[in-house]
Symmetry: C2
Subunit: 456 residues, 2 copies
Amino acid sequence: MHNDATTKILLSESEMPRRWYNLVPDLPTPPPPVLHPGTLQPVGPEDLAPLFPMALIEQEVTSQRYVDIPDAVLDVYRLWRPSPLFRAHRLERALGTPARIYYKYEGVSPAGSHKPNTAVPQAYYNAVAGIRRLTTETGAGQWGTALAFACAQFDIACEVWQVRASYDQKPYRKLMIETFGGLIHPSPSELTAAGRAVLAEHPDSPGSLGIAISEAVEVAAQHADTNYALGSVLNHVLLHQTIIGEEALLQLAKVDAVPDVIVGCTGGGSNFGGLAFPFLREKLAGTMNPVIRAVEPASCPSLTRGVYAYDFGDTAGMTPLMKMHTLGHDFIPDPIHAGGLRYHGMSPLISHVYELGLIEAVAKTQRECFEAGVRFARTEGIVPAPEPTHALAACIEEALRCRDTGEEKVILTALCGHGHLDLPAYGRYLAGDMEDRELSDETLAAATAALPRVPA
Amino acid sequence: MHNDATTKILLSESEMPRRWYNLVPDLPTPPPPVLHPGTLQPVGPEDLAPLFPMALIEQEVTSQRYVDIPDAVLDVYRLWRPSPLFRAHRLERALGTPARIYYKYEGVSPAGSHKPNTAVPQAYYNAVAGIRRLTTETGAGQWGTALAFACAQFDIACEVWQVRASYDQKPYRKLMIETFGGLIHPSPSELTAAGRAVLAEHPDSPGSLGIAISEAVEVAAQHADTNYALGSVLNHVLLHQTIIGEEALLQLAKVDAVPDVIVGCTGGGSNFGGLAFPFLREKLAGTMNPVIRAVEPASCPSLTRGVYAYDFGDTAGMTPLMKMHTLGHDFIPDPIHAGGLRYHGMSPLISHVYELGLIEAVAKTQRECFEAGVRFARTEGIVPAPEPTHALAACIEEALRCRDTGEEKVILTALCGHGHLDLPAYGRYLAGDMEDRELSDETLAAATAALPRVPA
């Protein structure tokens, strides 16, 4: 069925994994606990109950290695899953590399990214728990779109606060969220105390994921029939995303390929974790030994330049404290085009894995990323979202190294979304109207000076 | 492998058809010849040679039932083909219909529509013939995007004239064409005599496909290294699109389904012909007996209200005369959102098949179409392009009839593209800011009064 010319390595629906993978029990040491910001003691389920249904709270702290995917979730997944794994024949030829490049493409989903993998189960568990509305934040808009679609499947309402910079740069996202039946506001907004506080000080604030989280959490906490949904960072979100890596393992096995290098882009970490964790399981078990590399934007480099410390997940300080690589919870990232990577922190689980030395991290500036995106579009026929162009830039860098050394490495990456709604950013890149901005030492020092004090 | 819950019926790349199907030799009578506008005699290959390479001219008039697809074209097709056939379980449930609805989804292609099926072979045959640049027109922008992508695969230049109404309504299309390396102008433009003539009389002209064709043809005719490529209407274009229907036949056979009703939207006719012709072959052979129904916009209803007569393919009268259902070559359709359906004529081959009584046709107003599009998006997770919402509206109408009668019909339709770049039209529909416009008898009479006179 597969041969050297095969481009798309497909799984049938009957081959779709029926459980998610939890990395935690396989790690040599567990990640540090999440702390209550008042008591500085580990949070319990009751602390999270105002925002999340119990099923998700259990998944957040489970020590089971596998969690069964409910049938109602599998039923929605089948609209686009299993997603295809592509061999990038045409990109390889254009690069003149002996490396084999594979990309797992999540842009076939309703939202056009990997986000529905967790939006659908989150909407499902909330609907089963009797919740009638979900609130959330969104950066580039991928997550808001995913949650609006997911809520429509289980007949609950969806209200989205979108980071102002992206809301203005990408007007089509708003329209897609509305087409799926969601309600959307730019953030900061006048609708919440958190938003009003920011606007009072910075009327022209471009917003940030941290601010938008504060707004969505505030509204959810005030209404009994309303919960909050987060699109990245948390353990249960990364758990749901592991279906990406589980499928990729099955697909690579069909062509007898074992990855030497895995690269993925990181914002909050859900796409990267979703791809990497099942391979990390294999690496820890000794069945393969890939280099696993996270790629982040140079203007928001939490892993490569952030502090590993307890910090809030949002700007207003309403969330529990998580130990993670952070640029400081009131850091407002430069409005780069990869809105989905504009988060001050990093998933605590990925931060922990990074501290354990199980993964690497690099940072890329945006022009190199868009150059990779255009090269990819012209050879492979898919215009990538700005976020995965970071992974593609690192992927191309690795493939060109192989061209120089003659190594026939197997490179695996996640093309976590298409860029159809991000075309204005391509327009600016093609017009030569795009700047590279790196985080200055002064800005970093100022932003991390105000981290909450937590005794060791 | 397939069962009742199966959503996506997939073919492996090795199952992809390796030849296109030509309906002409299977018809009871051949279609009327294309005429030279000066001599009124049938055109010969030499008349078309200034615009097309000989390989495509041969395909235009071939009497072979099948044409082999070149390996270099199959190699590019594999980036997205075979395309998936979906069973619309969730739409069926929402409608409460006993009908089974299947949709063949062409939005997985690089351009997001069926257009690359013919753009790739057209670019290939031109490149092989030594051509260095292709010019073309585009309406909604799907065709221009497809040709820009295809030209990039064979290293030739691509220059696109886009109908002004769509150029202004859908700015993302321009950016996508440029991302693939194409050059784009709004039409009418000051770059051609045809464009300047229109602008002199109507400085604010919204343009039309007919005008844009005149501009692209004019430039191609003036340069030896430049040819013209048409995205619909002609026999060779419909030939290339038959891979859609050939795949759908194989896919339906995998689930033992035989279509009772086939519906497709028609602008120039290439999507409809691509889906329908292989099924028409089966119908003519007596192996199945589907009703085959074309769906067109009420504001540009060439099949249901046009005249069946010889007319020009473009506005300026530069093309040969084709016998087709036409609203008159200087008819400028209302700027409806389904830009891809704004063509004054209909493929001569589909017109002929319609005259033979082998297919039906209906017209739909745009609000009914967008209502169908939103319903489809919320259930099936794909935001359709405005063009296929016409087919979906007819599909839903048929499924609701089945709900009333209890008939378990098998309905097949072509979802010929996604609507990611058409979201402003959804925004206007959702805001209640969209009008239904039907063609008036007076406008029709005026537009068809000036048809060229051709002795019977």
